[in-house]
């Protein structure tokens, strides 16, 4: 009996379709080739199982700190600054176009020119809703943890907010981006909630890991006074509603922004 070549075995193990049936039939009737296939699979599995050290928890931040000064050097030329307004317009278009690819199926294709422009706007809006919805979900968790962190009437012991502080730092930059994008899109409802959220995130991120009872009270007071947790939840629901409406009604009227702002 002619055994399978190593190349055939590797191709079979790799899931290649060409000649697969014949190879399978041979392997089923050949103990040696089956054993060889198992040894091959075992080696590949061993490589997959080789441990790779997980980067430290704030690895991304560390990388950023190392490369940030070099990025600024690269984009700091006067002529680039001069071109900024044009770049802004181009960037908006680029982002809309690149995202059409992964949102295809959710946004209906239009043939006439006017509808195509609306679709691009709608794509941008959907991208913002997706990102902000997820962001608010993560922010709500941090706010809730802070709200439940200290026992009622805590007055003596410091409160450990290290974990919330780290996550607030992570959320802060994204929050800023979404707030600016929402403003650019004319979505003041989202922008306002993100603005209030940003102030609390800033307080937590800039504070110590172990806050004094007085500091803790002040942070909590801010969350309570602004009704921030409630606003975040309402906005999350609103975003869900708008996402669902968007799915059911792919093409909106030209007054979409006005409508959003009225709702806000």
């Amino acid at each position: 009996m002619k055994h399978l070549s190593e190349e055939q075995l590797i191709a079979y193990q790799d899931g290649e379709s060409s000649g697969r049936d014949a190879a399978a039939s041979h392997i089923n009737s050949c103990v040696e080739c089956l054993a060889e296939l198992n040894r091959l699979a075992e080696m590949l599995a061993a490589y997959q199982a080789l441990p790779v050290p997980d980067p430290v928890e704030d690895y991304g931040r560390r990388v950023w700190q190392q490369i940030a000064p070099r990025l600024k050097e690269k984009r700091g030329h006067w002529w680039q600054v001069f071109l900024e307004p044009r770049r802004l317009t181009a960037a908006a278009l680029v982002a809309a176009l690149l995202l059409v690819a992964f949102l295809t199926g959710r946004v209906s294709k239009r043939t006439d020119h006017g509808d195509a422009a609306l679709t691009a706007e709608q794509v941008r809006q959907r991208v913002l809703l997706l990102a902000v919805g997820e962001h608010l979900g993560r922010s709500e968790m941090v706010l809730m943890e802070i709200a439940n962190a200290g026992p009622e009437g805590a007055s003596i012991k410091p409160v450990n907010l290290s974990s919330q502080r780290r996550r607030a730092e992570d959320l802060l930059e994204e929050n800023r981006l979404y707030r600016q994008t929402a403003l650019q899109e004319g979505d003041t409802g989202i922008a306002n909630v993100l603005d209030e959220l940003e102030r609390v995130l800033l307080d937590v991120a800039n504070g110590p890991g172990n806050v004094t009872p007085a500091q803790f009270k002040s942070i909590r007071q801010r969350i309570d006074d602004d009704g921030l947790l409630f606003k975040v939840r309402v906005m999350t629901k609103e975003i869900e509603r708008r996402e669902n409406t968007g799915k059911q009604r792919p093409a909106q009227s030209g007054s979409a922004k006005v409508e959003r702002n009225n709702q806000a």
Binding site: E6, A46, Y47, A49, L50, R87, A91, A131, T181
Partner: protein, 212 residues
């Protein structure tokens, strides 16, 4: 709370747009979100922290410089992964040349050790989990991987550790899919040869494609 693929892409798109609009700090979101994945690829390829970190930094610097070119891509993670793989090949080739120059006087001895690192592996064939727990075997597997050419190493890691498609590997290698497939095959073949005593008891080792 795990982010969905769609929301990650949406968040990436917003960060890219802001970066292109001149907000340099917006790029931080992309770095923080994707640097862990790039580090894991780089560590698998280089086997050490220092080189892996250099690849991570360079990949993001290059991504930043080329961000305008990202317009036709759909997934920033895939794009920056490819940039990292691409840079890693250049870096590993360069490192290999440097090492060769440095070690030239003792080349004969080094070759013997490097090219056949697995001859002393015991014959018993334990399960993959037990295998990887063995520090010695792990070292030998890593040595075997490092002894591949840069292109073979990256093709193998992309295909068999990260599950990338052949087209993606071809793009990273700047070659066509036929050549990429051959590179993956060659890598597997070489690793098998080096690790054969471990994964196949000597008695059953035989030439494949022959009649029994």
């Amino acid at each position: 709370m795990k982010e969905s693929v769609e929301s990650v892409r949406a968040a990436d798109a917003i960060a890219i747009e802001r970066t292109l609009a001149g907000d340099c700090d917006a790029f931080r979101v992309l770095v923080e979100r994707h640097s862990g994945m790039i580090f894991r690829l780089a560590f698998r390829l280089t086997g050490n922290h220092q080189d892996a970190e250099e690849i991570v930094q360079e990949a993001f610097l290059r991504a930043y410089q080329k961000l305008e070119q990202f317009a036709s891509q759909a997934n920033f993670a895939t794009w920056v992964y490819r940039i990292a793989a691409n840079y890693a090949i250049d870096r590993m080739r360069q490192r290999k040349q440097e090492d060769a120059r440095r070690q030239a006087p003792s080349a004969e001895m080094t070759d013997e050790v490097d090219q056949d690192p697995l001859r002393q592996i015991p014959d018993a064939a334990p399960t993959p989990e037990r295998l990887t727990q063995s520090v010695e075997l792990r070292r030998q597997m890593e040595t075997a991987l490092q002894s591949l050419t840069p292109a073979e190493r990256i093709a193998f890691v992309m295909r068999h550790c990260d599950g990338c498609g052949i087209e993606e590997i071809a793009a990273a290698l700047k070659s066509n899919s036929g050549a990429a497939k051959n590179t993956v095959f060659r890598a597997v073949h070489k690793l098998r040869e080096m690790l054969e005593p471990q994964f196949a008891p000597r008695a059953t080792v035989r030439a494949m494609g022959t009649e029994s």
